[in-house]
């Protein structure tokens, strides 16, 4: 590959499959232009799982939409940066071309499987569709492929169920069907946007296991987008935490959770109720996420940050490696050393 590997993220093992560099996305609204993403960089390699974590409005889903050329038009557009996949910059390609590529090589699953499935077609028809459209297979052959996929994602009694309609399936089964459709053409990158948020915990665990198994089998790269720090901990090796459109901390998930270097990450971890908080008060982050239309100056987290100083209001802190910590761990905070010492 000709592209140079950006040094701010030297975590992945092999050559990155998908590399996002300094991505910025803007939306024009009646109240003005909103920068939903700013300076977002990350990459994923074959067989690797990256979690993108953050609260609502932090830009996780916009990141996925930008990669897949699904940004709502005409309001949203890529305002800068590159999305490099297989040597080409997707951000510079016409939407039609990106969609074509995404159909076969980059796939996505969404939070709500019911609204992503067409209620008036049998699921067999819907799963077979990519084989017919993209691979030019005949009806019979595509149907057989669909059946194979249904079995692979663990739908019991697939031979009969393939003739059923989406409403006849439970939420977890529908998500399995969505996964079947997404992996149909053997994508090299799978983006899962809150794949288990709408599901019960037991089903949630099954779906995460299924995704991990499929990844192990196919060697695809997996980008897991979630608001839930717990759900991804078992599956992802690396994570990026987003806040107000920027990545504020990134690194190996285990190290980040054990030693958060950004006060926001620390605040999120402290907010989660657990056995150790029974009878005690939770320690929430004060205030609320900022309005993207009027972001605070400097670090956008400073009004909520217990570590904030005057310097934090002056300039947006770049991602950097805290003194005395190992490479993959980066945080966008000028006081990471103090945060880590706490």
């Amino acid at each position: 590959m000709t592209m140079t590997q950006p040094e701010r993220d030297a975590t992945s093992s092999g050559t990155p499959l998908l590399s996002v560099q300094d991505l910025a996305v803007e939306f024009s609204t009646s109240a003005g232009v909103v920068r939903a993403l700013d300076g977002v960089s990350f990459e994923v390699s074959e067989g690797e799982t990256l979690a993108i974590l953050g609260e609502s409005g932090s830009g996780k889903s916009v990141t996925a939409q930008a990669i897949m050329a699904l940004l709502p038009r005409p309001a949203g557009s890529i305002a800068g940066g590159r999305i490099v996949y297989g040597g080409t910059d997707l951000a510079a390609q016409p939407i039609k071309k990106v969609r074509e590529l995404c159909a076969t090589e980059i796939a996505m699953i969404f939070q709500d499987p019911l609204s992503s499935l067409n209620p008036v077609f049998r699921i067999g028809y819907q799963i077979a569709e990519p084989f017919r459209r993209r691979r030019g297979m005949g009806k019979r052959e595509a149907w057989a492929k669909a059946l194979e996929l249904l079995k692979r994602v663990g739908i019991p009694d697939a031979e009969t169920r393939i003739r059923d309609y989406p409403h006849q399936f439970s939420g977890g089964q529908r998500q399995r069907i969505m996964i079947a459709m997404a992996i149909a053409l053997e994508p090299r990158v799978l983006i899962a946007d809150e794949p288990t948020t709408a599901l019960d915990v037991t089903v949630q665990a099954q779906i995460m296991t299924l995704l991990a198994d499929l990844q192990a089998e196919t060697g695809m790269a997996l980008i897991l987008i979630s608001h839930d720090l717990g759900v991804v901990a078992d599956v992802a090796e690396r994570a990026a935490i987003m806040y107000a459109g920027r990545i504020v901390e990134t690194g190996r998930i285990r190290e980040m959770y054990d030693h958060p270097a950004h006060p926001y990450t620390q605040g999120l971890l402290d907010s989660i109720p657990s056995a150790s908080t029974i009878g005690e008060r939770l320690k929430p982050i004060v205030g609320a996420p900022p309005n993207l239309l009027s972001l605070p100056t400097g670090c956008s987290f400073h009004p909520r940050c217990p570590f904030a100083t005057e310097a934090c209001k002056a300039a947006v802190p770049p991602l950097r490696q805290p003194d005395g910590w190992l490479p993959p761990h980066l945080a966008a905070c000028i006081r990471s050393e103090e945060v880590l010492a706490k």
Binding site: E55, S56, G171, D200, V201, T202, V203, Q204, A205, H227, D228, L229, G230, V231, A233, D234, R254, Y257, D258, G267, L268, L269, D270, S271, I272, P273, S274, A275, T277, I278, R281, L282, K283, P284, I285, A288, P289
Partner: protein
């Protein structure tokens, strides 16, 4: 307060929906949503209902508040048996049980200002707060739930999700309830905001001696906030006990499976033998 016993007593509660034949609408069977549910809830206490979707959690709550008629069993509130109350009789009882819903966006009327949303209950229950006191009282309530009292003329869309949930809480408090049913009340909120709302619920309970019936699919939230917990599976309580007991040492197979599926933030901490 009327009685000295528990505030809410639910005995052998059963809710079944009839299945009718397609032509003559004759009853051909029944679909049992919940059966044999028993529990008590005292002032100042929180009882949690957990279970997967379809387990009957919300049905129990809807029956308690009188939106669904039970097929069998008794519901006593503050010493009175309210099972067979007429809608008119229920009205005064219902004032004392309020509900906070999952989606604050959908449960607040977008055309009303915050002041009107909170005061609506006083319109329905005249005599509770004098009309001349409404504005002042709304401001007090907003302050109580941690919102700027000057926001009373704003509309719901001008608030964030967490703030809207605070408005929902203020609306519930406006009627001076003894029992608040929280139906997935914090499930739609981001963790940092969720923690704020949980702390607020905790403060209000201490201060006003409120009883909470807390329904959630989020088991770590339930473990944190509840005194007692009931686990529902397909409409049946499979296990109940104090939160500490239950989460530390679940007995029932279903409960064990449910708890085992809860994602752990730091799974590596539990893997060390």
């Amino acid at each position: 307060m009327t009685g000295t016993g528990p505030l809410l007593q639910v005995e052998n509660l059963k809710v079944a929906y009839p299945i009718r034949s397609s032509i003559l609408l004759r009853k051909t069977g029944e679909n049992v949503a919940v059966s044999d549910v028993n529990f008590e809830l005292s002032a100042g206490q929180t009882v949690g209902l957990v279970g997967e979707s379809g387990s009957g959690k919300s049905t129990v709550a809807r029956t308690v508040i009188g939106l669904v008629k039970p097929s069998a069993g008794r519901i006593r509130f503050d010493g009175q048996d309210i099972t067979d109350y007429s809608p008119r009789q229920l009205k005064s009882v219902r004032r004392q049980m309020q509900m906070i819903f999952q989606d604050p966006q959908a449960s607040l009327n977008p055309r009303l200002t915050v002041r009107d949303i909170i005061a609506e209950g006083w319109r329905v229950h005249p005599g509770l707060v004098a009309r001349s006191r409404w504005t002042a009282e709304v401001k007090e309530l907003l302050e109580r739930v941690g919102l700027n009292p000057d926001y009373s003329d704003r509309y719901p869309h001008q608030f964030s999700g967490g703030q809207r949930q605070r408005i929902g809480i203020a609306r519930a408090l406006a009627l001076r309830p003894k029992l608040i049913i929280c139906d997935e009340a914090v499930s739609a909120l981001d963790v940092s905001v969720q923690a704020q709302v949980l702390n607020l619920l905790d403060d209000l309970q201490r201060e006003l001696n409120l009883a909470y019936l807390f329904i959630s699919h989020d088991l770590s939230v339930v473990e944190h906030i509840c005194d007692r917990v009931m686990v529902l599976n397909r409409g049946v309580v499979v296990e109940e006990g104090t939160a500490v007991e239950l989460f530390e040492n679940p007995q029932d197979e279903y409960t064990k499976r449910l708890f085992a599926a809860v994602p752990v933030v730091r799974p590596w901490l539990e893997q060390t033998p």
